[in-house]
């Protein structure tokens, strides 16, 4: 039986569920409902149906509630607060808003937070750009997974990039897995002529036709299959083609190569090489120009070579077969050496056979990560320190019903907002800084490059991780506060938190001191390299590249030059004596080639030792007064004399196995001994060395000029050069500049260490500044009481600083240890190096103490010098 009163009561209970409907509203709605029911009953409807239809006409509870809410809210739009949100997870927007308010409220702290994170992210950004560039090398070759560089491996692990040029064709012919092979001989260059255009080309590569099958350089004219069909064909890059032919069709045109006096037909034009290709050339010709015998010789290690394996072939199997081929041709004599294959993507990272580039990538990635972590640590430190400021907020949030997770989410959201802001600033900074870095380090990096989305993803991930990491610890600590404690103003935060914070500070300081230490050691080593007495004088020596015209009349050229003012001596040699690449085997007369010793080797002209001011300790230098010198004379260095076991080598005879010299002429007589000198970068120890007199061709001319008349001398050299070789452009370089280039990577390392240690110190300084500000604030009352009792400012400052003295000391000790280990490892790659004396440690720590003093001094002093009455009235 239907009971109206009962039904209305139940309906009212439903309405009460809506938070917008107050009792008064419900009463009014009820009155309306009753009116309607009464009217419907009067018109003859049954009571039950009348009630049901009246309720249905009223609309559902939610809608009614929402309408009432609209009347009373002051908000102009939006959903009522008790309704589920439509797109954002609950409270996210609110959290961001609170984060922004916090930043506006505490601008100073926000600035420190953002500055620290920005610097950390900037380091990360720059290094990521560089690392990505390094790793992208040779990635554009389609067959990169089955292309290998052939290297010679010594049994002790040393690798040689120059291999016998008989090996690659031999491998292609005898090993079925080898699909193609190409020898690449980087020719120093030649004058190239076409009509009126003359250009000294520095990057002509001589190679096999399969070169373009193995490497996917993009052809704009011609095709890889038809490139280099014969000895007189040449392939150009686009910019080289433009240089010689302008806008004309280059295909089928001829170029004259002056050095060998031959005409070449252009058979293809390729796009300019990307900077991230380890092969860099402008012209490509046929390798056969090296000469039949040189290509067929197994004994001579000529230059690099590459092979492409068939899909699915195993590199190990090919290596084994190549090794047996090598042994078959060279016999047991070469048992110390075997050919190995290096995958193409690794070639750049281990360019000269050593993992130098790879270790730089690793070192810098490590530093980038370290600085980013320091920035995060800084953030955590400052946030947890300021925890007490937020304790009441946390307490209140919890009292009104926030769960621990929600409170934690709030702090992570704040960190996230700062992280996003910092990343934005870091990207901006990257845009501004990258051109400067490129300029200073000689690179061509781009911020986003070809794979912009990849970079974007990395940065987004870094931002996310930074926000999470730096927000997680404060979130964890702060969300653990018990509301009752915080609201009753009882001290919050336990001992564990303090300890952790100390660990963070120590970590930060350790990284800073460690980096300063590294910076100082690297700088000292670079200075040492700069000042090192090489055993030859590299200053004021002008280097010219020889050419056939100059070579023909070399004696006359030399005589004319030496008659000019400002020029001291002129000589020529096959190698730059500070960076001699060639070596050969030497054994004393009476011995056999089984007794051979590895020697450094250089062909020189008269006046070589005089030009470089090398000391001849026994015997004499080459002289025109002794015609036999040119045929059989040689000089060795002291190390060589020791290696041969000759106390007085002058007059003794020896054998050398130069592959280009007839075996019956491979005998020399020692006419003098020179003092040891550095013919290789200082990474390598001085080795035995052999100088031989050889006149027909030298690639370089060396001219010593007077230091006080350099401009005059250069003008004279240019003039005389123009008279002897008018068709060649006059180009010169100072030997000291070439020497610098040998250490380019080390200078880059030094530069980057400078930059990054500066940035790390900046971040650490920020952290310390925040720390001292906070400490001063916390101790305001204590300082006030002490001052009232008569403590002087100095004592109070000491009191504050003493709190952190232990941390600074610990950090220094740790940094000394880490820096010592790292730098010893780095220095060990130099055969000649500085020692890490105590001075470096003290200097690094001294610098750190200065940073500490500057960043902590101001706030500490202000706190200590403040009027006690202000302090006691505080709070």
């Amino acid at each position: 039986m239907f009971d109206l009163e009962d039904s209305i009561r139940q309906w009212k209970r439903e309405l009460a569920a809506s938070s917008a409907l107050e009792d008064g509203y419900v009463a009014e709605l009820e009155a309306g409902l009753r009116d309607e029911v009464a009217a419907r009953v009067r018109s003859g409807q049954a009571e039950e149906a009348a009630f049901r239809e009246a309720v249905a006409g009223m609309g559902d509870v939610e809608a009614v509630g929402a309408e009432f809410h609209k009347v009373h809210t002051t908000r102009r739009s939006g959903r009522p607060p008790w309704q589920a949100p439509c797109f954002l997870p609950s409270l996210v927007w609110n959290m961001v808003k609170v984060a922004v308010r916090q930043m506006r409220r505490y601008k100073g702290y926000a600035l420190i937070h953002v500055a620290g994170l920005t610097v950390g992210m900037l380091c990360f950004l720059l290094i990521t750009v560089w690392v990505r560039d390094e790793l992208s090398f040779d990635g554009f070759h389609v067959h990169k997974d089955r292309v290998y560089r052939v290297l010679y491996a010594e049994r002790d692990g040393g690798l040689h990039t120059a291999v016998s040029y008989a090996l690659p064709p031999g491998m292609a012919a005898e090993i079925p897995e080898v699909e193609a092979s190409a020898r690449v001989w980087p020719w120093t260059g030649s004058l190239v002529i076409r009509g009126d255009v003359r250009h000294q080309e520095d990057a002509i590569h001589l190679t096999d036709p399969d070169f373009f099958r193995i490497f996917s350089f993009e052809f704009v004219r011609g095709a890889p299959e038809t490139a280099l069909p014969d000895l007189h064909s040449v392939v150009l890059t686009e910019s080289a083609a433009r240089r010689y032919f302008g806008d004309d069709e280059p295909l089928g045109q001829t170029l004259h190569v002056a050095e060998i006096d031959e005409d070449f037909r252009v058979t293809g034009v390729i796009r300019d090489l990307p900077p991230n290709s380890h092969l860099q050339f402008e012209l490509v010709g046929r390798v056969e120009w090296l000469g039949e015998d040189r290509l067929a010789r197994w004994e001579e290690w000529v230059a690099p070579a590459y092979v492409m394996l068939r899909p699915g072939a195993s590199a190990e199997a090919v290596e084994a077969k190549a090794a047996s081929l090598f042994r078959r041709e060279l016999g047991e004599m070469q048992r110390m050496i075997s050919p190995v294959l290096q995958p193409l993507p690794q070639v750049h990272l281990r360019e000269d056979g050593t993992p130098a580039n790879l270790s730089r990538v690793v070192i810098f990635s490590g530093i980038a990560l370290l600085i980013l972590i320091v920035a995060c640590v800084n953030f955590m430190n400052l946030s947890t320190m300021r925890a007490t400021l937020r304790a009441r907020e946390v307490g209140l949030r919890k009292v009104v019903g926030a769960s621990r997770l929600l409170v934690a989410a709030q702090f992570i959201a704040e960190a996230m907002v700062l992280a996003v802001l910092s990343m934005g600033l870091a990207v901006l900074g990257g845009y501004l800084l990258l051109p400067i870095v490129n300029e200073a380090a000689g690179l061509s990096l781009r911020l986003f490059g070809d794979d912009a989305w990849g970079m974007f993803a990395i940065l987004a991930a870094a931002t996310l991780v930074t926000g999470l990491v730096s927000g997680s610890y404060p979130a964890f600590v702060l969300s653990a506060f018990r509301p009752a404690d915080t609201l009753r103003s009882r001290a919050v935060g336990g001992r564990g938190g303090v300890l952790f914070r100390k660990v963070l500070i120590v970590f930060q300081l350790t990284v800073s001191v460690g980096l300063i230490l590294c910076t100082l050691v690297v700088a000292r080593q670079l200075r040492y390299i700069q000042d090192k007495d090489l055993g030859l004088n590299r200053h004021q020596v002008v280097v010219l590249f020889n050419n056939p015209r100059l070579n023909r009349d070399f004696d006359a050229f030399k005589a004319q030059l030496e008659s000019r003012a400002g020029i001291v001596r002129v000589t020529a040699a096959s190698q730059n004596p500070t960076d001699v690449g060639t070596g050969l085997g030497v054994w004393p007369e009476g011995g056999t080639d089984r007794d051979q010793i590895g020697f450094g080797y250089c062909d020189v002209d008269y006046d070589f030792f005089e030009t470089f001011r090398m000391t001849v300790v026994r015997g004499r230098a080459f002289s025109r007064a002794f015609p036999a010198d040119a045929a059989e004379g040689c000089l060795i260095n002291e190390k060589a004399a020791a290696a041969l076991g000759w106390p007085d080598p002058v007059g003794r005879r020896l054998h050398f196995n130069h592959p280009g010299v007839d075996p019956d002429r491979q005998r020399l007589r020692v006419i003098g001994v020179v003092r040891d000198f550095h013919s290789r970068p200082l990474r390598e120890a001085v080795r035995p060395f052999l100088f031989r007199m050889y006149r027909p061709w030298h690639s370089r001319v060396f001219i010593r000029v007077r230091p006080d008349r350099v401009p005059e001398a250069l003008a004279a050299i240019g003039e005389v050069f123009g008279a002897f070789a008018p068709e060649y452009p006059f180009r010169y370089i100072f030997l000291s500049e070439l020497y610098q280039r040998q250490y380019r990577a080390d200078h880059q390392l030094g530069l980057l260490f400078d930059l990054f240690s500066l940035l790390a110190c900046f971040v650490a300084g920020l952290g310390l500044f925040g720390l001292s500000a906070f400490t001063a604030e916390r101790m305001t009352k204590e300082i006030g009481v002490r001052k009232v009792c008569g403590a002087p400012t100095r004592d109070i400052a000491t009191l504050i600083l003493r709190k952190y003295a232990g941390l600074v000391l610990t950090a220094n000790l740790l940094a000394w240890l880490a820096g010592y280990l790292l730098m010893t490892a780095w220095l060990n790659q130099f055969a000649y190096r500085v020692s890490i004396g105590p001075g470096v440690f003290l200097a690094a720590s001294g610098l750190m103490v200065m940073v500490v003093g500057v960043s902590m001094g101001y706030r500490t002093y202000r706190a200590a010098a403040a009027r006690p009455v202000d302090a006691l009235r505080y709070e």
């Binding site: 709605l29 009155a31 309306g32 009116d35 009432f68 609209k70």
Partner: protein, 113 residues
């Protein structure tokens, strides 16, 4: 069915006009609106009561709980002086709107003929 926006806009002048003749209550207002519009405007309680509350909040009408003839409590609404003034403004606005529309449509019909 009339659009939601139009119902919302026209509710204010209609309610104020109805109350011009004397006090009234929720259900009665709904019935009178239905009658006067020839069944064209069917308001629901969910729509009417919030509007009444808003008008009261704005000071245009005043409410009072009274005992009705059937012995039940009802909330009666009366027009305030501010309400009378507000109605005059509304009247001007709506007259302007309807006059404009009438003129426009008259012109269109004239053009069609």
């Amino acid at each position: 069915m009339t659009s939601k926006a139009l119902i919302a806009a026209s509710a204010k002048p209609i309610i104020l006009s109805l109350l011009l003749t004397g006090e009234s209550y929720g259900y009665e207002i709904m019935q009178r609106v239905r009658r006067v519009s020839g069944g064209h405007l069917g308001w629901s309680s969910a729509m009417l009561y919030p509007v009444l509350h808003r008008l009261e909040k704005d000071g245009l009408i005043r409410s009072e709980w009274k005992l009705s003839g059937e012995g039940r409590m009802r909330k009666y609404y009366t027009l305030t002086d501010a309400g009378r003034l507000g109605l005059a403004t509304e009247k001007d606005d709506w007259t302007a709107v309807t006059a404009s529309l009438a003129r426009l449509w008259g012109r269109i019909e004239a053009a069609e003929e």
